[in-house]
Amino acid sequence: MPPTPKGEFGSSTYFREYSKYFKIKNSPLGDRGMEHYTMNLTLKVWRQKNAQSKGRFETYEVKDISSEMSFLEMFDVLNERLIHEGKEPIAFDHDCREGICGTCSMYINGRPHGPWHATTTCQLHMRAFRDGDTIIVEPWRAKAFPVIKDLIVDRGAFDRIIQAGGFISVNTGSAVDGNAIPIEKENADKAFAAAACIGCGACVAACKNSSALLFVAAKVAHLSLLPQGDPERKTRVLAMIEQMDKEGFGSCSFTQACEAVCPKEISITNISRLKREYMFAGLAADK
């Protein structure tokens, strides 16, 4: 029997231990380096006809998968086969396939986006797996992300959180010269690191409370670190948190699972910043 992973479920320690238990490598090179190989795999995939119906796991055997394929290309191969067999292919969200649009969203072997560190599902390659592996694939699971079909969920809640205040109110045409306000490089870099969030929702999927706090914090940090974002600083954080609660996301209990699985390595220091902003905004509110 493998040892039970240490640490609280969902924490980064837990994931590290869990990864060891499944012998999952964080390096894109896997443990086989450049060597190309083919493998046969067993997939257990969540199938659900639509939001109303009940879902279930289906098992599929896939053969001759090349280690050079991406994870989604392996799904392409399976779907082509299902179409030829007259069955319905598995519905999943994907678009850019280069790790930036944030569309892909598979929960692979108990981890959002699968075993590799800082990697989206579309950038996960089959080198991460070995011949004979069983891979379990589920959709994001969170009350605020209802399943639409199979592995596709509705992440409209994220758009509505941005609508609540995730912007700087500047109409086209009213801007001053780009170099009129110098911004300390350190703050500009921090703002960029937070703004790199792709809105995929892995943080919510990993969180035992289904909290969206890392997503909200990244946006609050991005905009409050810049002088342009300063005028709306207080109203922004209050409104975004209010919307997050309204959408049915849970509260943050700081297990740090979100950071461990974030494909863009958004730091939880953003959550600390958000809490500071939130407290300050609440204390300083005139209303």
Partner: protein, 657 residues
């Protein structure tokens, strides 16, 4: 001859004059006007946000699950603007000139000059929105170089500039959505436009979740639906990128401009096998510091690091000493193909060249050691500090390369090969960005207007945002001012009934074929024909063959495609089938256009027309025009021409030597 409606007057006063004289719509009337925007990339999101800010009622549509996912998000390198912050001789005129020359003298002077003029406002607007551009320690904006220029005018945010700009525009869009000025429809795909009395009055869309058709009516329709590079199957475009919206408009009367002007990007990760679903770009910014080479010996099987310096051929630096590794994309792509075809390619497929960072690592390492006052640094120390610098500049690109190929690009040179990336062609538009169908506007990559036969790097983001933030808010008013007396057309109008029935019939027809071959397999076959016969090099015979093969493919598709599932549900295979059906028709038109253009210009390289040293040879006396194709019937198009007049620039053979 088509009228581009370029305003009178000297080149640098045209846009100012236009803005001073175009008609306006007063605020009370704006509140009564409805505008439909399709697509939410840089052009669409910026247009929808800006029009919403002006007080128009905007409905915005995208097929993705959120407007933030549009493919502009994947643009890596940067955005050009004639700010001249570097004091290195840049100006609006120079950006204009570089773009005209880079486009191989096949774009309009008036449009390009306007683009260069508003480029400076784009940077200001984006900074005000909170776009975190790269900065120097002074706190001021940083710049780098891109292909086809000798100044540093590219603004960037690491290798994620498109993402940051799109999020800026997306946030502006969501702000208008919260204010009620924009109504957003995600997971909706446009399947037709509705024209009434010669004016575009609405669209038919399919709700991709329920599968139901829906009707929307407006005073004007703005298409910002991107390029059609996926006609080649493998490209750097996202999986969902498609031609459907502009193709439907084309079949309803909008002319298609220069469809054969497609861009092949020189630095992409090579194909590894049949399973390949898309290709990944390595940003052009990598050519700032990386050096491109192949072995001097044909069929050299040694590893890159085992080939000594004197046995390497830095062919771009050899052939084009003035611009070196920073020649424009079309030139760099052809040069790579030439070397590989001649047997100098590297890697297992031999269809690749090296992009090497060893020199840059050593150069930056020495500078850093100097800064740190390390006396007589060891090679190891230099390397260490050099890698740190390269990591900061290009870290995310190097990581991506490693994930995809399993090779560490800090240790071994990257292998790259050209891939389809961008389409300069698109729906024909006039100076106001209106197509020949009244009330139908086309913005961004979806139109044909600004890049001629070849787009320069970091200019796509510039054009998308210029069109959306700074052009359409003026030009659309000039049309809507005459529409204020016209109430919105009801969606129960006969034209909407007919249009919806047509869309519905086509979907039913597709679903009822119940053939044996998957949509994907047809798309792959189309891509193969296009890449082999209408790709980096084209000739009359190949193009004629391609046209015949595509006709056959179309017939086979409509006889034997298999689409699983139902109509009234989320059905990605049905979505894809409709897109591929349109790609097949477009493929034929691209080949017809390429066959018609008996010259080489920019990305369109006809083997019959080249200089003795293999450079593109234009035929200015015969082809100094925009080819605007009118759809007549199946397999039949009529050519209309818009003559290109050069008043400011003298067209010459492009030289980067």
């Amino acid at each position: 001859m088509l009228d581009s409606k370029i305003p009178e007057g000297p080149l640098n006063e045209k846009w100012t004059n236009y803005k001073g004289h175009c008609k306006l719509v007063n605020p009370a009337n704006k509140r009564r006007m409805e505008i439909i925007v399709v697509g939410t990339g840089l052009a669409g999101a910026s247009a929808a946000a800006s029009l919403g800010e002006l007080g128009y009622n905007v409905k915005a549509f995208c097929f993705q699950d959120s407007p933030r996912r549009a493919h502009s998000i994947a643009a890596q390198g940067g955005i050009n603007a004639a700010k001249n912050y570097q004091n290195d001789g840049d100006s609006v005129y120079r950006l204009f000139y570089d773009t005209i020359k880079g486009g191989d003298y096949r774009s309009r002077e008036g449009n390009v000059h306007r683009l260069a003029e508003v480029s400076v406002n784009i940077i200001d607007q984006c900074v005000a929105q909170g776009v975190p551009f790269a900065r120097e320690y002074s706190g001021l904006l940083s710049n780098r170089s891109f292909g086809g220029t000798q100044v540093q005018r590219t603004f960037y945010a690491a290798g994620q500039t498109g993402q940051q700009l799109l999020i800026g525009a997306y946030q502006a869009l969501e702000r208008q959505a919260a204010l009620g000025n924009v109504k957003m429809y995600s997971r909706h795909e446009m399947l037709d436009i509705v024209n009434i009395d010669g004016k575009c009055r609405g669209i038919i869309v399919r709700n991709l979740v329920s599968g139901k058709l829906e009707r929307y009516s407006g005073h004007a329709v703005v298409l910002c639906t991107g390029g059609y590079g996926n006609v080649f199957y493998l490209s750097t475009n996202a999986m969902g990128c498609n031609v459907t919206a502009i193709w439907k408009a084309h079949k309803q009367g909008a002319y298609f401009g220069n469809p054969c002007f497609t861009q092949i990007h020189p630095t992409c990760i090579p194909v590894t096998g049949d399973h390949q679903s898309k290709l990944t770009l390595m940003s052009e910014s990598l050519r700032n510091d990386g050096r491109i080479w192949v072995p001097q010996k044909q069929g050299d099987t040694r590893k890159a690091n085992e080939i000594p310096e004197e046995e390497r051929d830095y062919y771009l630096e050899r052939r084009y000493p003035a611009f070196g590794n920073l020649v424009p994309r079309d030139v760099a792509s052809r040069a790579a193909k030439e070397r590989c075809d001649a047997g100098y390619g590297v890697g297992t497929s031999k269809q690749a060249v090296y992009l090497d960072y060893a020199d840059a690592i050593s150069r930056y390492g020495k500078i850093e050691c100097g800064k740190l006052q390390i006396e007589n640094p060891t090679a190891e120390e230099i390397r260490h500090h050099g890698i740190e610098v390269v990591k900061e500049k290009y870290g995310n690109l190097f990581d991506m390369y490693e994930k995809i190929t399993g090779e560490n690009p800090y240790q071994v040179p990257m292998r790259i090969y050209p891939a389809v990336h961008y389409t300069m062609g698109g729906l024909w538009v006039d100076y106001e960005l209106m197509s020949n169908v009244k009330g139908l506007y086309v913005l961004g990559e979806a139109n044909f207007s600004d890049h001629g036969a070849n787009r320069l790097g970091a200019s796509a983001l510039m054009q998308g945002l210029a069109d959306g933030y700074f052009v359409i808010p003026y030009t659309i008013g000039n049309y809507l001012a005459d529409e204020i007396r016209n109430a919105i057309v009801s969606t129960t109008h006969e034209a909407f009934n007919e249009s919806e029935k047509k869309v519905s019939d086509r979907i039913n027809q597709l679903m009822n074929i119940k053939g044996s071959q998957s949509v994907e397999s047809f798309h792959k076959r189309l891509g193969k024909i296009m890449w082999e016969k209408c790709g980096m090099a084209r000739n009359a015979q190949g193009l004629q063959e391609a046209i015949t093969e595509i006709k056959g493919l179309k017939e086979e598709f409509w006889r034997d495609v298999r689409i699983p599932g139902e109509i009234n549900e989320l059905n990605p295979e049905l979505d894809k089938a409709q897109r591929v059906a349109d790609f097949i028709e477009l493929g034929e038109l691209i080949c017809i256009d390429a066959l018609n253009r008996n010259e080489s210009a920019g990305g369109h390289f006809r083997e019959e027309y080249q200089t003795p040293d293999g450079e593109a040879l234009r035929q200015d006396d015969q082809y100094m025009y925009v080819a605007a194709w009118e759809y007549k019937s199946d397999h039949e198009w009529e050519l209309h021409k818009e003559e290109l007049k050069y008043e400011e620039v003298k067209p010459s053979q492009r030289s980067y030597k």
